[in-house]
């Protein structure tokens, strides 16, 4: 078991954003989380990092209880997040952004990993010394993914990686997700507005509503579930 959340509750002040989440991700799986805006998808991901810190419940990652670990130590255990809205460092070069990805990883891997990322995302190589803020949205998303991969994580969290991107880049994002999982055995937890696409690449899926998991199953099961189709696929709320 890679990740196991049990009875996780989280609050922002008076907002009760997560209400007893039970969720698990197995080694080598792609698991997707779908739900309307404000359902708590991003909160679920960042709560793994203690932001917000869960008020009750337990998070086990790779056999270790990380529920109370300081935020900056979580990634050292092997979790990397590609945050919603990309959040690359706009006033740093692409190279510096990638350097920021390796806070704990073995520094001697840097050159090798840099080469790998530039092979995976050729756009990054020619622009190493360019400010990241000058990249297009799609290119920034590639950079955000590359930055997360630089730490060689065991679990990759992707929060709406295709949001606001041109169709070409949406395709590219899903290709990369599949490639990472298939060729490198990367375990992935994916949040997507693009539920149709996400359910197709996912082994399993959860549906989140008002901070609660209301449905779960294999990607195929949810794709053919009439309630899911009505709410999230057939022109439902996103």
């Amino acid at each position: 078991m890679m990740l196991q959340m049990t009875g996780v509750h989280a609050h922002y002040g008076h907002v009760h954003a997560l209400r007893g989440i039970d969720l698990s991700v197995q080694v080598g799986e792609v698991v997707t989380l779908i739900g309307a805006n404000g359902a708590g998808k991003s909160t679920l991901m960042t709560s793994l990092f203690g932001a917000p810190r869960c008020s009750s419940g337990q998070i086990i990652f790779d056999g270790e209880d990380i529920t109370r670990l300081p935020t900056h130590q979580i990634s050292h255990r092997g979790i990397a997040l590609v945050p919603e809205g990309r959040r690359i460092y706009p006033r740093m070069t692409i190279l510096e952004n990638l350097q920021m990805g390796v806070s704990y990883a073995d520094p001697s891997n840097f050159e090798v990993d840099l080469k790998r990322m530039e092979a995976l995302f050729p756009i990054l190589e020619s622009r190493r010394h360019q400010a990241a803020g000058t990249l297009s949205g799609g290119e920034q998303q590639m950079l955000a993914i590359a930055r997360a991969l630089m730490s060689r994580p065991k679990l990759l969290l992707l929060d709406e990686p295709s949001l606001g991107l041109a169709p070409l880049y949406i395709r590219k994002v899903f290709e990369i997700i599949q490639e990472l999982n298939r060729d490198y055995g990367m375990t992935i937890l994916l949040v997507e507005q693009n539920a149709n696409h996400a359910l197709k690449v996912a082994h399993r899926a959860y549906v989140l509503q008002h901070g609660e998991i209301v449905l779960s199953g294999t990607g195929q099961e949810l794709l053919s579930d009439p309630a899911v189709r009505a709410a999230y696929l057939d022109g439902g709320s996103h």
Binding site: F49, I74, P83, Y89, S103
Partner: protein, 304 residues
């Protein structure tokens, strides 16, 4: 002409001091988005540490000025950065997730506390130190006016240039500098990526305080007197320098410091020495009204 040249030298000296202090304001603003109003008082504390150490060294019979200066610099930098660290830990960190106003009020409280602490422990009277490095070079004489640069002025300007160069290298070229800039741009993501943001903020306060400490030692040596109120005046001027350069911009802080220093010495010489501080305040008001992002700052985008 001769007078202008002399004011240029004096202004560069003053401007160096303001620039060193201004960096502390700008770095702290950059990383946590607040004006550290106690920063000027941290500078004042460093001047008192310098006086105490100078006096102690004199009592111990250290007569070599370079040696004394070096020891005083090291002692002042160490103790003052400890002050910077403590101020952040006690007055700001507990309020970090509170309203925007709370840390500002806390900063003003910390400023009053430091002034009073020094006043109570050191006395309210000005403290003198024996004059040092008052010898110098006469560059040229025109009529009755001779243009001089003192050893103290040379030291201040050279030391400032060296520190600014080293500091620029630290911020732009080292791993720590990269993490510091990362925190300025996105603290939360930087923590997610595995960096101890609290530690980076602490170090930022310590570096700002250390630069102010050097300024405090230089001023003590230059003027030969300090009192517990110098932090307020120098603080406002350095703050103006930071605003003028663009709060958050490091080259801006250096440039702003120089401009304020030059303005002050020319104003004192050509207009009125009593009202030399008016120029600074006029600049502060004008910049805040017409160009709040300063000369080199980015237009303010509200942080989310």
């Amino acid at each position: 002409m001769a007078q202008a040249l002399q004011q240029l030298i004096n202004g560069l000296t003053l401007g160096s001091v303001y620039g060193l202090i201004a960096i502390g304001y700008t770095m702290v603003y950059g990383i946590i988005g607040m004006i550290n109003f106690a920063h000027g008082d941290v500078y004042m504390v460093s001047a008192f540490i310098a006086v105490t150490t100078f006096t102690l060294l004199a009592a111990l019979g250290v007569s070599s000025v370079p040696l004394a200066l070096l020891v005083v610099l090291v002692v002042a930098v160490l103790f003052t950065s400890a002050y910077g660290w403590t101020v952040e830990r006690t007055a700001y960190r507990p309020l970090r997730n509170s309203t925007r106003l709370a840390p500002l009020i806390s900063a003003i409280g910390m400023s009053i506390f430091l002034q009073n602490m020094v006043q109570v422990t050191q006395g309210a009277r000005v403290k003198p130190v024996p004059p040092m490095l008052s010898d110098g070079i006469t560059l040229f004489t025109s009529g009755s006016y001779s243009v001089r640069i003192s050893s103290a002025q040379i030291l201040i300007i050279v030391l400032t240039v060296v520190l600014m160069a080293g500091f620029t290298w630290l911020i732009t070229r080292t791993a720590f500098g990269r993490q510091q800039r990362a925190c300025e741009q996105d603290r939360l993501v930087t923590a997610f990526l595995g960096y101890n943001v609290d530690r980076i903020i602490s170090l930022t306060f310590m570096i700002g305080a250390a630069l102010a400490a050097v300024a405090g030692v230089m001023v003590t040596m230059y003027y030969g007197v300090v009192d517990f109120y110098i932090g307020f005046v120098a603080g406002i001027k350095a703050f103006t320098a930071a605003v003028l350069g663009g709060v958050g911009s490091l080259p801006g802080a250096m440039l702003g410091g120089l401009i304020i220093g030059l303005l002050e010495s020319f104003w004192a010489s050509y207009l009125s020495p009593e009202y030399k501080d008016i120029g600074t305040f006029v600049i502060l008001i004008m910049v805040l009204m017409f160009r709040p992002s300063g000369l080199l700052g980015r237009p303010e985008v509200e942080k989310v």
